[in-house]
């Protein structure tokens, strides 16, 4: 279901953009207020609740034993699932994940997997037979834009919150994590690039570009969304924004 936005509001937002301004007085490279609460769900091995402005995303991490994939018998399993709960927006309908929920889950999965944040090899119990499976469940509770950045932040925070299950099989001192990837989504609005779009800005934007980076500035995942386009130069500028803003986000973790 599409969001309803009046042409009056749309024109106002577009007009502000070319003057370098936004509806809530933020700078083009400024994020809304961010809070991260860890350990919010006792039944999960790790959890976090991220508030990014009015957007709220909760992530629960569960560890379970499972069979490894045949082509990687020594590797633990990572499963990322996202639910765009009908709670969160009048445009989210109950039912199995739609293309937006699936895209969200797969983007977050790539950020975690390609940054090699989790040392999956260390999660092997018996080669070819039993490994630990890491389930990252993303629960979007309140939608006011920029679900990708909020979900990545919440997922990484939840993974760092993991307290290993109190079972004899767990032999590691902690949860094998390295690297802290972050995602920065840049939207293009009337030709102007800005980060952390509020819902109203998202509804008017031509396209979005999510660039995920690790501490050394390397890029581990990119996703372009929306039916508009970016020039090569815009992609370069988006990368600069992603580096700069990404550093600030990483400090919160």
């Amino acid at each position: 279901m599409k969001e309803l936005i009046s042409t009056v509001k749309r024109d106002y937002i577009l007009d502000l953009a070319v003057r370098g301004k936004r509806i809530d007085d933020r700078a083009l490279d400024q994020y809304r207020e961010i809070t991260i609460e860890r350990g919010v769900i006792g039944t999960a091995q790790g959890s976090a609740l991220v508030k990014l402005g009015n957007t709220q995303v909760m992530v629960g991490v569960k560890l379970e034993k499972g069979e490894p994939f045949k082509d990687s018998p020594r590797s633990g399993i990572l499963v990322v699932n996202a639910e765009l709960l009908p709670l969160a927006s009048p445009t989210f309908e109950p039912g199995p994940p739609n293309e937006d929920a699936i895209e969200l889950a797969r983007v977050v999965d790539r950020v975690i997997r390609e940054s090699e944040m989790i040392d999956l090899e260390k999660l092997c119990l018996k080669e070819g037979e039993e490994v630990w499976a890491v389930f990252v469940d993303i629960y979007v509770l309140d939608h006011d834009g920029n679900l990708i950045d909020a979900s990545v932040l919440a997922s990484v925070a939840a993974l760092y919150d993991v307290k290993p299950p109190a079972v004899p099989d767990w032999t590691l001192p902690g949860f094998p994590l390295r690297a802290k990837p972050v995602a920065v989504t840049v939207v293009k609005l009337n030709g102007v690039l800005m980060v952390d779009a509020k819902l109203e800005e998202e509804n008017v934007a031509e396209a979005r570009l999510t660039i995920s980076t690790t501490e050394n500035g390397n890029i581990c995942a990119i996703q372009k969304g929306g039916s508009g386009f970016f020039s090569r130069d815009e992609v370069e500028r988006a990368y600069e924004l992603a580096l700069r803003c990404g550093e600030e986000l990483r400090k919160k973790l």
Partner: protein
């Protein structure tokens, strides 16, 4: 007998009155007693006991001035979203004030999806179809549109228009207030327009507090 005082905060199921009283809006009668059906502030006028809800959706009534947003078209006009469970019907011929030949004229040149229209609710039939009469020729072209909870709109108008006067006279802006929670703010100075928008959002937040008109007036006069 009354069990509450005026402007008291009540919740659903609260016993308001018994005996020679009439239930107004936000209240209902059960076993000869009057109870509140919503969260709101009591309003006691002579023998009438009402509860003014602090939340709630807009339900169209004849004579209401509203701002609708075009969500669909049909052969003779458009369907407008009214921020309500019920949508409004607007005829193209009424918008332009003359007969329209739908085979010759392109309706989308008159109004597009997402355009906002200032209108009046002409009629609501017994099947809850809402018929609108435009108050302007064509779409809203200028100004800033603010959306607030419809329950708070009376506060933006104020008793006998007092709040509306404060908003307009201190800033020189002109407001078109839609009962359905959409308010258009027009003005030459963008800073003054922004100030009015902020004032409206503040009114929405503090609608249940008293002395609001004076506080808003003081805030806006600082800008003069």
């Amino acid at each position: 007998m009354l069990f509450v005082s005026n402007r008291e905060l009540v919740v659903p199921g609260k016993l308001l009155a018994e005996g020679n009283y009439v239930a107004g809006e936000g209240a209902f009668v059960e076993d000869g007693k009057i109870f509140s059906s919503v969260v709101g502030l009591t309003e006691i006028r002579e023998r009438s006991v009402s509860v003014i809800s602090l939340q709630g959706r807009y339900i169209p009534r004849r004579g209401d001035k509203v701002i609708g947003i075009v969500v669909d078209t049909h052969p003779y006009g458009w369907i407008l979203d009214l921020n309500s469970p019920y949508t409004g019907n607007l005829l193209a011929s009424e918008l332009v004030g003359r007969r329209i030949d739908i085979f010759k004229e392109d309706l989308s040149k008159l109004l597009r999806m997402g355009d906002a229209v200032l209108a009046e609710v002409r009629e609501v039939d017994d099947r809850w179809r809402v018929f609108l009469s435009p108050l302007q020729r064509g779409r809203i072209k200028e100004g800033r549109l603010v959306e607030i909870s419809p329950a708070k709109v009376p506060r933006v108008i104020g008793r006998r228009g007092s709040m509306l006067r404060v908003l307009q006279e201190t800033t020189g802006c002109r407001l078109e207030v839609g009962i359905n929670g959409r308010i258009l703010v027009k003005g030459k100075d963008p800073d003054k327009v922004n100030a009015v928008v902020e004032a409206i959002l503040l009114i929405e937040k503090e609608a249940h507090l008293s002395g609001l008109t004076d506080r808003i007036k003081a805030k806006l006069e600082k800008l003069r």
